[in-house]
Amino acid sequence: MSDVFQIAGKTYNSRLLVGTGKYKDFDETRRAIDASGAEIVTVAIRRVNIGQNANEPSLLDYLPPSEFTYLPNTAGCYSADDAIRTLRLARELLDDHKLVKLEVLGDPNTLYPNVRETLKAAEVLVKEGFDVMVYTSDDPIVARELEQIGCCAIMPLASLIGSGMGILNPWNLRLIIEQSKVPVLVDAGVGTASDATVGMELGCDGVLMNTAIAAAKDPVRMAYAMKLAVEAGREAFLAGRMPKKLYSADPSSPLFGMISSK
């Protein structure tokens, strides 16, 4: 059964996208990502530590760009300008790579997105030829504007970044899913496998997470759980769940042929 997941014209098998931060070491990062089955991995762009041992291993040694689709992000950027500069550097760094994750934050405590700056940055980046997957609030009007600008995926938060609070507003996610013609991915807030499943059952095209895996007691095992959870949620969505029946039961076994029937 074909169930194609496409982002910016490229087809992927896995609907789980994972971050590469907060792991104990690169080895654990690699093992967790392998267990997750993810093909798209987010990376951050940061200043080189000048004077640091040049032979120190780098993330790219453990996750070769030939094996994974990199999704450079703008985590930590608080203005459209910083986000745009960061992604221009990312494009240069990764050999004219165009698929990026835009996020512009508005507050250091909640890491809530600043949608005004996000919209501004999205306009510039789309014009410059970037394929922009955009982290945003779960406001359907903002989501629609980002799609109209030309973002290739809309990624509303389920709850605050790194909070593990799960999907707090399924209704808004549904509104965004129903109106969007580009993929919608839950980005941020997933805490455990059932959260990912719920997101997929709502009709999300994918889920992006980092902390839920990296901060689990056993990250590699949680990565595998997330793979199964995303697949289960997707299959359930495609299968179409039974309608909920309020206030009445419906037996699963035959009503006839009971012993001591008359």
């Binding site: 990376v43 080189v48 780098s58 790219l60």
Partner: protein
């Protein structure tokens, strides 16, 4: 002598140098690094030809783990 700002830190160099030479001096040869000079990207293909001048502001970045 020229003075450059590299990743927010002032660094002095005895003689003018190109971006390629700077990469060598900083022992970053062969590393995957992207460079911005005064707000503009310096493409890898132009590193050898790009002469740095006193007061240039450089950002040099790599990919690191992140979500």
């Amino acid at each position: 002598m020229i003075q450059l700002s590299i990743n927010g830190e002032a660094k002095a160099f005895a003689a003018p140098l190109t971006v390629s030479e700077l990469i060598q001096v900083l022992e970053l040869t062969g590393k995957r690094v992207a460079i911005e000079r005064n707000g503009e990207i310096v493409p890898r293909s132009t590193h050898a030809a790009t002469q740095l001048v006193d007061g240039d502001v450089l950002e040099m970045v790599v990919a690191v783990g992140g979500g």
